[in-house]
């Protein structure tokens, strides 16, 4: 069983997802335990895989159907992938825990079973994407996650959610169309789909087809940038993330956009890394384009967030800005920059899930959605308010919370790449973050009736939020735990 663990992590979640509709028709109360069982297996499996990778120092590979690459599909779990696996399953499990308390009330019991199905399939697809070592396999998983992510938005069932889901679906499909075209070009140039073989072959043939290589790279960048909402292509994100039910917002903002950025990082540094040389300035330009757009994302996302009155839209625009950090790290391409990108993927997943889930509690229990109605929430919901504040402060980058470490490493990465101007950007963006998060925190703690809680908060909605906030603090105090793994992953990325 241990030998089959890499694929079993995905397949177990998939099977649980397949069976969920039947279980939901049979006995609705059994849905949550089944989902919890599957997620628990996912978490355990990822931890075991990470342990295996760390202790052996070798990537875990698994050949599906027994066909070794290039004949069949292979799955490869290295440091970076195991990091993503643990992140996805861990945060996913916490969000699922929250959802088990929230979804029944927020969406009605009729769709609970379908919701869990979509959630589990989404999680499985993201795990698959993280560990996929085959371009087409990556694409197919991407489609599953795209459709399921839209379904999680549409699950709300009101007008805004339906419109947002349609917009998201159309743009995400365009994005995956670009990616598929890119895969087609790479396949045409190399005759392979396995990432290792493509990288090997591409290094040999790209000088015969420089334009095609460049076009393929840019198609990948455009496709993944649409899907992970890099600034000018982010237009779908605020609607989708703000109109979705709160657990969906958390999983979309916390995990889904990250996995595409991770995939892009993997492709850029594993497949195209050989092109980032002076002899091919066009490919080098891609990195500068990423830097420019991520700068725009950081500033633009924050500026848009400043003028929002709806808390979930504010958080959504903040996600746009924070994805800019991740892309900035990818674009910088120095060891600390890449490490910061991966660290920020982790930190932002935790912080933003915490923010969305606690905002969901505010909306659901106190019935307040507008920022101006937040006054006095700390009186009725002390724990949730404290968690929200910690996560918000962490977003700003107050030491010693999680956000500080990633910002520091990003700046360090900028210095390593010889671009001190991005240090200034970091400082400015921290200030912008403070500008829209601090009034929010201040308002929660100021006097006011705070939409006196209509009902008690169930434990399953309170504990996950507190747990995530605790993670913010722990990761802020001990960022070296993830960093140890992240640096090894980055070493593999930068190995030319």
């Amino acid at each position: 069983m241990l030998k089959n663990l890499p694929v079993m992590v995905v397949v177990f979640l998939l099977i649980a997802g397949y069976m969920m509709p039947i279980v939901a028709r049979w006995d609705r109360k059994k849905c949550a335990p089944l989902a919890a069982l599957a997620m628990g297996f996912g978490v355990l499996g990822s931890l075991v895989l990470m342990n295996t990778v760390i202790t052996s120092g070798q990537p875990v590979t698994y050949n599906l159907g027994g066909w070794i690459p290039p004949w069949g599909i292979a799955v490869k779990i290295d440091y970076a992938e195991s990091f993503m696996l643990v992140l996805l399953t861990g945060v996913g499990a916490i969000i699922l825990w929250y959802a088990s308390g929230d979804i029944g009330q927020e969406l009605g019991h009729k769709v609970t079973g379908w919701y869990y199905t979509a959630f589990l399939l989404l999680l499985a697809a993201m795990l698959g994407m993280a560990m996929a070592n085959d371009l087409f396999n990556l694409y197919v998983f991407m489609e599953v996650s795209g459709i399921c992510a839209c379904a999680l938005v549409a699950a709300k069932g009101d007008r805004e959610a339906t419109e947002a889901a349609l917009k998201y679906l159309l743009l995400a499909t365009i994005g995956s169309g670009f990616v598929l075209f890119g895969i087609g070009m790479l396949y045409m140039l190399t005759g392979h789909l396995n990432v290792d073989f493509v990288a090997l072959q591409l290094r040999r043939v790209w000088m015969f087809y420089p334009t095609v290589t460049w076009v393929a790279t840019s198609f990948f960048v455009v496709g993944f940038a649409v899907k992970s909402a890099l600034f000018p292509l982010h237009i779908w994100l605020p609607d989708a993330h703000s109109s979705a039910p709160s657990p969906s917002s958390a999983v979309l903002s916390g995990l889904v956009v990250k996995i595409y950025a991770f995939a892009l990082m993997k492709l850029l540094y594993l497949v195209f890394s050989g092109l980032f040389t002076e002899s091919f300035p066009v490919a080098l330009a891609i990195r500068y384009i990423l830097l420019v757009f991520s700068t725009m994302a950081i500033l633009g996302g924050s500026l848009f967030a400043l003028v929002q009155v709806d808390v979930k839209r504010l958080l959504a625009y903040s996600t746009v800005a924070q994805m800019g950090y991740v892309f900035l790290g990818i674009g910088l391409g120095s060891p600390a920059g890449l490490a910061a990108a991966m660290l920020h993927i982790l930190n932002h997943a935790i912080m933003k899930s915490c923010l969305f889930l606690s905002a969901g509690t505010f909306i659901h229990v106190a019935g307040v959605r507008q920022v101006r109605d937040f006054a006095g929430l700390s009186k009725t919901m002390p724990w949730t308010s404290a968690a929200f504040s910690i996560a918000a402060l962490s977003m700003i980058g107050f030491p010693p919370l999680a956000g500080f470490a990633s910002k520091w490493y990003l700046s360090e990465g900028a210095m390593q790449s010889g671009e001190p101007v991005f240090v200034v950007l970091m400082v400015v963006s921290s200030f912008l973050n403070a500008w829209y998060y601090l009034p929010l925190v201040g308002r929660i703690y100021s006097a006011g009736e705070g939409g006196a809680a209509k009902e008690d908060i169930p434990l399953s909605m309170r504990l996950p939020v507190v747990l995530l906030a605790a993670c913010c603090v722990v990761l802020g105090l001990f960022p070296k735990i993830p960093l140890a793994l992240v640096y090894r992953a980055v070493d593999k990325f930068l190995l030319k």
Partner: protein, 89 residues
């Protein structure tokens, strides 16, 4: 707005024409037709027992993709159900 979109597309497509001119000539042997293709065609029958090479690939060599592909179909059903059934409570 529309004019800008069209203009952008035309510019992008005209650069892509350069790429088309550079691609391996259509219908000839190019990097696509390498030893992977060769093996599927030559040894596929004895390795899988099926005559249809496309079937060999989708259900045996690359069966994992097809599993996920059926999952996509399933996800579509789930999504449609979720969309149409929700919001009426």
């Amino acid at each position: 707005m529309k004019v800008v979109a069209y203009l952008l597309l035309v510019v992008v497509l005209s650069t892509l024409v350069l790429a088309v001119g550079e691609m391996p000539t259509y219908g000839c042997f190019n990097p696509t037709h390498n030893y992977v293709y060769d093996r599927y065609v030559r040894h596929g029958v004895e390795e899988t027992g099926a005559l249809n090479v496309v079937a060999q690939i989708i259900v045996d060599y690359r069966a994992y993709d097809t599993l996920i592909e059926t999952t996509v179909l399933f996800a579509a059903i789930v999504s449609v159900m979720l969309t149409l059934k929700s919001g009426s409570h």
